[in-house]
């Protein structure tokens, strides 16, 4: 971001020094493009994984025709959708219809900015960190409403309204769980004395992972916030609109909900947004609850053995990325298994679960967290 520093300094403001990066030139495009490439490959892998795992659950063979073991199935799907005819509803709102899927994809893609794959492997180490994901995922319901409204179809419209209602209902328990994690105690870094007003107490994702790094496996936030973990799991499945919260795109109830009138590449964008959302949710589960890039088996000094030069070890960075992705795979597996085992919830059951069950529980979790910190556990 190139900003006009004189205009900023006339206003007396407090800000973390890590937030503004003065960019000289287009050098930032390389890490961004690398991340986009990684994410695209990640989506292809998730599509293949979903096919294979669902096949295993249903005791059949998964994709086997497109490439060895069906690895190129996702590319085959993508090519098919790319080459289909792009239908527009004749009396729908064409501009809203076209822009809707883009907003859904944009809001999910922007959330990848704050995910740390390693200590220095994060695109933007913001002070507000995780809160950026929550804020930007609040824009997604607007895209769904636009798609539903612009389709000129009663059932699409109804599906869009339901999807937006579901999205906004499950944002609140999600935010409260993230808040409970951000209220962690002050963990001093190895080379600093802990000040009472240290800027460690922000929502930065790197700091959240660093706070879980001390005792290996036992330092995970999963043990500190078990209720929060369960609530976060359910809420993020509902935010991604995966089964069992699948009603907006249920085929038996609403044809395909807000996605009914879409064909070709716009449908591919919704499809992509769904899997991107799943990937970003699973990466956030790793970062927030499962310890991020830390090699979590305690008392094994493998990272120290391989990190000869702490900051620039390529092998160390690869290990970090690999560990993050392996932990993210756990949540992916759980969500794909859930999709193919649990039945779908009705919309009123879904909204009841969000408002009347998860919200009080996450508030109780927040209360427990704060009271246990008062007792200085």
């Amino acid at each position: 971001m190139i900003i006009d520093t004189t205009e900023v300094q006339t206003i007396n403001s407090f800000s973390t020094s890590g937030f503004f990066k003065e960019v000289y030139g287009l050098i930032w495009i390389i890490p961004i493009l690398t991340l986009i490439l990684e994410i695209t490959i990640g989506v292809l892998v998730i599509v293949w994984l979903e096919r294979e795992i669902s096949a295993a659950i249903q005791q059949r063979i998964g994709p086997e025709y497109a490439g060895p073991l069906g690895i190129l199935q996702a590319i085959a799907d993508g090519t098919k959708l790319l080459l289909k005819e792009d239908l527009l509803p004749s009396r729908g709102d064409i501009r809203l219809f076209s822009v809707g899927p883009s907003i859904a994809v944009i809001s999910v893609l922007l959330s990848y900015l704050v995910i740390p794959f390693g200590y220095r492997l994060v695109l933007a180490d913001l002070g507000i960190g995780v809160f950026l994901w929550i804020a930007i995922s609040s824009i997604a319901p607007i895209g769904l409403l636009m798609s539903g409204y612009g389709s000129n179809n009663k059932y699409s419209f109804s599906g869009g309204l339901r999807a937006a209602a579901q999205s906004i209902s499950y944002e609140i328990p999600l935010t409260l769980c993230v808040l409970s994690i951000s209220l962690r105690l002050e963990i001093g870094r190895n080379d600093q004395v802990v000040h009472p007003y240290d800027s460690d107490l922000d929502s930065s994702t790197v700091d959240i992972v660093e706070a879980q790094s001390k005792y290996g496996f036992w330092g995970w936030n999963l043990w500190r916030q078990p209720i929060g973990f369960l609530v976060f799991l359910i809420s993020s499945l509902a935010e991604c609109e995966r089964l069992p919260f699948d009603l907006p795109e249920a085929e038996e109830e609403l044809v395909a909900g807000y996605q009914t009138e879409y064909s070709g590449i716009k449908y591919a964008l919704f499809y992509l947004a769904s899997y991107l959302n799943l990937l970003v949710s699973s990466l956030f589960v790793t970062v927030l609850y499962l310890g991020g890039w830390n090699f979590s088996i305690p008392y094994i000094p493998i990272p120290e053995l391989f990190r000869i030069n702490q900051m620039a070890g390529i092998f160390g960075m690869t290990i970090d990325i690999f560990i993050t992705l392996a932990k993210a795979y756990l949540f992916l597996f759980i969500s794909i298994t859930t999709r193919w085992t649990l039945p779908r919830m009705r919309i009123d059951q879904l909204l009841n679960l969000g408002w009347k069950f998860l919200l009080p529980i996450s508030l109780g979790n927040l209360l427990l967290t704060t009271s246990s910190q008062l007792v200085s556990l």
Partner: protein, 230 residues
């Protein structure tokens, strides 16, 4: 440059809120105003407030507006509506507002304004923030929850009043509404409820067929359909 882009988009979107014919477009431009304002807040260094704008204004208030506008049959404004009859009163109000803005702002903040006040510009560097700086969250929490906690509690009471109002408006009168208790219905055993014509209860096989009629619509339907989709 980013400042001028964001503020011009915000102004144009604000104008289009008023001028759009379709009310749904109007609300969507309203959302654009908030997005651009959030960007302006980031430029001011208020990162937390920018995110709060996105969460509260766009994620909650604008979605609320969209639900209302989309579901009610609000007529699209006619093209040949006479806008000029509003000109005298609105012109006076607009001029007053414009004059107030020029009175407050001066030449130092916006160099291109043709105002007469030329105070010396106080551009200084805050060295304290380079040594040890607080995040937005910390400053907000420090003020809002310690010194001004009464205002915080009062605002939560106002929101509670709004919530109670919504519940009162939509609460059913529970004596006259027939509801289903699904768990109770599932727990009922059909053998004890249904009696056949000659006074006998249903046998096990008949109860099974009855259950299949209710669940699947016809007896002897085995298996279930998996949900499709790619």
């Amino acid at each position: 440059m980013i400042l001028s882009v964001l503020s011009s988009f915000a102004l144009v979107s604000g104008l289009m809120v008023v001028r759009a014919k379709n009310p749904v477009h109007s609300v969507l431009f309203f959302i654009l105003v908030f997005c651009n304002t959030s960007g302006l807040l980031i430029l001011l260094g208020l990162d937390f407030f920018a995110m709060i704008f996105l969460v509260v204004y766009i994620g909650a208030i604008a979605v609320l507006f969209l639900f209302v506008v989309m579901m009610f049959n609000i007529q699209i404004a006619e093209i040949h509506e006479e806008v000029l009859r509003y000109l005298p009163v609105s012109g006076i109000i607009g001029l007053i507002f414009w004059w107030e803005m020029f009175f407050i702002l001066d030449n130092e903040t916006i160099p291109l304004l043709p105002t007469h006040r030329n105070t010396t510009s106080l551009r200084y560097m805050v060295y304290a923030e380079k040594v040890q700086s607080w995040t937005n969250l910390e400053t907000l929490g420090n003020l809002l929850y310690t010194h001004y906690f009464v205002w915080f509690l009062v605002s939560s009471l106002i929101l509670l009043v709004a919530m109670i109002g919504a519940i009162v408006l939509t609460m059913h009168r529970t004596t006259r509404v027939k509801r289903q208790d699904i768990f109770r219905k599932n727990a009922l055993d059909s053998r004890r409820i249904i009696m056949k014509e000659d006074g006998r209860d249903l046998s096990r096989r008949e109860a099974y067929i009855y259950n299949e009629y209710i669940s699947f619509g016809s007896p002897r339907v085995s298996g279930f359909e998996t949900s499709g989709g790619a």
